[in-house]
Assembly symmetry: C2
Homo-oligomer: 233 residues x 2
DNA sequence: CAGTGGTCTAGACCACCAT
DNA sequence: TGGTGGTCTAGACCACTGC
């Protein structure tokens, strides 16, 4: 159960930072001093400092020293998956339709698509206890010979739909999250009342060359949906 | 402009992972093989692998090898600050009142507070162009001699209100994000119509001993509020 | 048993910073 | 110029995995 020394050093420093003994902006003992204090080699001390740095506690300035960071109070980790983020989890997904369409003004703007390009529009409904709780629209650039297999589409998340060729590592995603009144289309599909509150989550998928490879929005019934996030430094 | 060798090695491996040449679960060349291939010492190779590991690309199994991770498709970075997250930014904040109150059932549940403890309730309104766009309720455990200075409270974010003694590093935060219909209290304060859609963001602050040191909710007018998040691995 | 990753050392040279 | 962090080496010993 012996902790490696570099972990011990890192935790000692963390304690000093958490307790306020070391404040943001304060400089930390030099690496040579620490290696003398703990009677270890400088490389071991550097391993501790690298760890603290990657966790956001400190940063270093070449030629000067290591310093305590200003904690980033506004940064959170959020977990979201349009298929799993619903309270109690979706127990059925229904593929409404898959169509090859001409881009509208909205999709042309959001996907930087040209008029002559075609898009695939996938529409799905998610159910809990036979009640529709989410309505999902996804647009994917169409290319000739694209496999549009219903079974695959039915339970796939957005990245899975798009990244049939590329590695999932290469796909970046952006979310926009907002509350809004249900529009006509959403009202009809979720069978709710006009103007009911909806959580709309817009997803944009970009590949490693920053090309937009997918765009869409999922409309969640607000009673069945809640996002959670935790602070992260 | 020379890149350090350990960066070159790490980027070579990243390319192989991003292109799909190395797939999740695949094992990576052993550290000894890599150090021969690149003609560097094993410590340098390990530095590359440590970097990739901390970025979520790979993981290692002692005695076996290094492996490509399964990318975490559901993880995002979210930035949120109740004072800054509003479109166009808040240009005025009005402190409605600060009261020492007995805990209600709701606060007792959410703050694990006891009946005989007292709480401070801070109520604020945020404005854009003289229009109220957010209504903010925050509860803080009261202790004798606590400084309740109006000027400080007016523009402070939640952690700043709470962490007057502890280091900000020691404070963890949890968010719950949901869309909902405006309640009576919210309708009155934001001067909107009954049932208008609202984005409610609940914040819970915990110290390093997991004690709840703050709890509250900010109600945003949905037209003026949108969260953004980016994928993170 | 040989091979793997995990820890650690005692040096080295460099670029950078302050004085 | 001396101190700082950044990179890198060529070893070492350990615990673990698979055969």
């Amino acid at each position: 159960m012996r902790e490696p020394i570099y972990i011990v050093i890192a935790e000692d420093l963390k304690k000093m930072i958490n307790s306020g003994e070391l404040e943001p902006g304060d400089s930390i003992c030099s690496e040579n001093m620490l290696s003398e204090q703990y009677n270890v080699s400088r490389m071991t001390v550097r391993k501790s400092l690298t760890l603290l740095s990657s966790e956001g506690y400190i940063y270093s300035v070449p030629g000067k020293g290591n310093y305590v960071s200003v904690p980033n109070q506004d940064k959170y980790i959020l977990y979201f998956n349009e298929m799993k983020s619903i309270e109690g989890s979706v127990d059925e997904t229904k593929l409404l339709d898959v169509n090859v369409i001409k881009p509208t003004m909205e999709t042309m703007y959001n996907m930087k698509a040209f008029e002559n390009k075609r898009l695939i529009l996938v529409r799905r409904l998610m159910y809990i206890d036979t009640k529709p709780v989410a309505y999902d629209l996804k647009y994917i650039p169409y290319y000739r010979g694209m496999p549009v297999v219903e079974k695959e589409i039915n339970y796939a998340t957005f990245p899975e739909l798009v990244a049939q060729k590329k590695s999932l590592f290469a796909i970046r995603k952006e979310l926009k999250i907002k509350a809004q009144r249900a529009s006509k289309d959403v009202v009809d599909n979720l069978r709710i009342n006009d103007g009911d509150p909806i959580m709309a989550i817009e997803q944009k998928l970009l590949d490693d060359e920053d090309k937009i490879v997918g765009w869409g929005t999922t409309y969640f019934l607000s009673d069945y949906f809640q996002l959670q996030a935790i602070s992260s430094l």
